[in-house]
Symmetry: C2
Amino acid sequence: MDNFHVYDTTLRDGAQQEGLNLTVADKLAIARHLDGLGVGFIEGGWPGANPKDTEFFRRAQQELQLQHAQLAAFGATRRAGVKAADDPLVAALRDSGAGVVTLVAKSHDRHVELALRTTLEENLAMVRDTVSHLRAEGQRVFLDAEHFFDGYRDNRAYALEVLSTAFEAGAEIAALCDTNGGMLPGWIQDVVNDVIESTGVRVGIHCHNDTGCAVANTLAAVDAGATHVQGTINGYGERTGNADLIAVVANLELKLGRDVLPAGLLREATRTAHAIAEVTNVPPASRQPYVGSSAFAHKAGLHASAIKVDPMLYQHMDPIEVGNDMRLLVSDMAGKASIELKGRELGYDLAEHPQTVARVTAKVKEMEARGYTFEAADASFELMLLEEVEGTRPSFFTVESWRVISESRAVGEETEATVKVHAGGQRYVVTGEGNGPVNALDSALRRAIARAFPAVAEFELTDYKVRLYDDGHGTDAKTRVLIETTDGDTSWVTVGVGENVIQASFEALVDGLTFGLWRHQK
Amino acid sequence: MDNFHVYDTTLRDGAQQEGLNLTVADKLAIARHLDGLGVGFIEGGWPGANPKDTEFFRRAQQELQLQHAQLAAFGATRRAGVKAADDPLVAALRDSGAGVVTLVAKSHDRHVELALRTTLEENLAMVRDTVSHLRAEGQRVFLDAEHFFDGYRDNRAYALEVLSTAFEAGAEIAALCDTNGGMLPGWIQDVVNDVIESTGVRVGIHCHNDTGCAVANTLAAVDAGATHVQGTINGYGERTGNADLIAVVANLELKLGRDVLPAGLLREATRTAHAIAEVTNVPPASRQPYVGSSAFAHKAGLHASAIKVDPMLYQHMDPIEVGNDMRLLVSDMAGKASIELKGRELGYDLAEHPQTVARVTAKVKEMEARGYTFEAADASFELMLLEEVEGTRPSFFTVESWRVISESRAVGEETEATVKVHAGGQRYVVTGEGNGPVNALDSALRRAIARAFPAVAEFELTDYKVRLYDDGHGTDAKTRVLIETTDGDTSWVTVGVGENVIQASFEALVDGLTFGLWRHQK
């Protein structure tokens, strides 16, 4: 849908969020989710400036089969005083394999002088030269006009000239960036109106949430004629974050009657937002508009009977439109279709076994209600599916018992773990040490199994995430542990849940080793 | 400032948030924080409908000395078919001691018929009679027109008639409620314009964030002439929450040049938001506009030198205006003034000991950077202050060592803890059992101390909160534990921090017992 762009920058601007660290594998996983939502463009990062992003674009060419989205590479205009064709950073954009390059350019005169330390004329030349060069090389070029709204206030003529220069050189979009995030909707509307009237460029909008108005600001720009919206999933981003792309799109489609995603895909919104939150390990905000787990929660109370008569009296839209649920059990999102799909991946055609599908669906719901999540923990899901389909769960060893001793004494702190395990017909009693209880348990278990299954020597724990998934008072908060294990070639994620972080971790460790051994056996 | 109302409903509508449970003591503490921020009105709850809220208003009359705010009691118009003077729920509002009653009334015809199950005429009579009765009893009355915007769409004439009826009976404010939260700013603006033109009532605005536009919607209403804004701290509330009152107020004051809080008090915003988050135990959102810990975080990188030349190139306002910080160390909020104040409470006039104040301030900053928080953990703060002022920390026992053993065997799971403690010249070795490691440690420690200090028999753990306070990948996430202990008369909170939840909990347990014994000794 080229007449209106839904442009996602989760992987670039979203990744600027404090505490958010994405591996290349994380980025590829997120890109697949974004494509499933049907966004038009996925800004993948800054190849050339960041080795991880260079690697992302390299692997994306081989590994990503995108159905809806095009990849966009983000980067800056050439350095002052060199030709675009000679600038290695521009070359990295050109060679990224991305069909679109989004060039960030300064449009605020003071930033040109103080941050770029060049002249206003040279900055225009940098814009012109870089856009022309990339266009000549066959790429589409979008412009991100950085600090545009502040620049417009300080020097309107220059800010507009930057846009016109890019357009004359072949840029398709001028995305006006409220980089510092200080705008309010009325102001955005006035500026976008003026830009369109004065320059005739095609306008995009890129907002941050510093005034709490990123979504409204984006809508105000669209109302004034912008036809390209940028944002991030879950509003990730620096400081207060970027415009929440799903809220923007849902408002456009459901409130303002515009079709901006491929038909039907808005219903993937809730699933997508939660799946991406599992990858980033940033706990999803339960109050998030449209997709939050509380977004359609109702304290029925006195109104229960009225809700029965007409639920729409108590909700602003039907949550099914965004794949959410009035009763908001996250478990309800594990639909039968995705379970059939997963079965097919594993070589089972479940479509012909509706009873099995129903049984697995019920089990997923029941386990998710207890705090498990299978969106991210594929390996735990597959083990569970195998158990339901084949009647037995793959098993290579049994744990007779485990024990963790953590102590603090004058000489310091010490933690050790002992596991008693049966594997390959033998009983092993192994003790491991570690910085903390989980570390020690991992060490003991791995060494115990290694005697019977040398393959585990190749396995390695590459990620460990802990989340308290309810914020309740008291001692009954539960812990969810996600563990990623790799054998060097592939990696898989398992999940454990419990009141005791040690026990939850142990569950995920056991699943991680079991899944790896099962895959090796195949 | 009666010409513009900043009306907080954290304690009523905010408390509707899933998972948020406030005790009466919590509500009193929050009311004090709200008053410190200078809001004009604090909606305390629904006396009569909810025993906890009745108790809140009773205690508020005795215990709250409010400097800036007035208390408002929330409640419904009388039941159909009875006189307001005979309705016990109306009587509870009248007798609440609150100077203001905020009456919620139906303004959507379908809600009158389906939820209230009465006629449109009787609903108007209910509004008229209840407002008149409370006015005659000497209370100010504000009207919350529930589902107003949906009602206006369905039956504009009736929705407006509800407002006019309330005004003729003596209501001062008609707060238009977007109860289902589906509105966008332009729509709000049009409706508020029409209401003011058509009825002449004084308009207030009450928004929810279901479209992600609660703040912008509130500003749109003000732009159209509303002079009363409702919202909650941290945007707490049902579903996606209410309008974030601090973002609304900061935008009004800093972006739109209106004075809506007493001069200077907006600088309390960040402190207030965080202190209230500690009371609710809902982790503060780091990306929250204006007050989030990330709200003014900068990844300086290439721009460091430009930031030095002019920091305002990279921020939309000076964070000091809301008590936040560009470098965003939460620790910087523990200012010297509050430390002097705390010292005075403890009987030390620190104003004359600037070196001590500087030393304590530095220590607070250093410890907060490591994850401690003293906003909520008064007792840990006092122990630290005593140490700095008197040169020694109160100490009643010393812990030689502790050990926790957690094991899982065929017969089940079991956890025990052993502490070796010196107290009153004796050495005690005591083992306790529990459901989990912390429970077991608490039991062992308490029993060991009880022999030397019988006073601890009266102590009881009343609350235990755990928070992972960074969401980093890997095993290095830290745990912060807050423990509340009571002796039956008063209660106090202590804090512990560490990579190991067991160790962090033990630290807070020891401080909790020490503080209680120190207070008993005095």
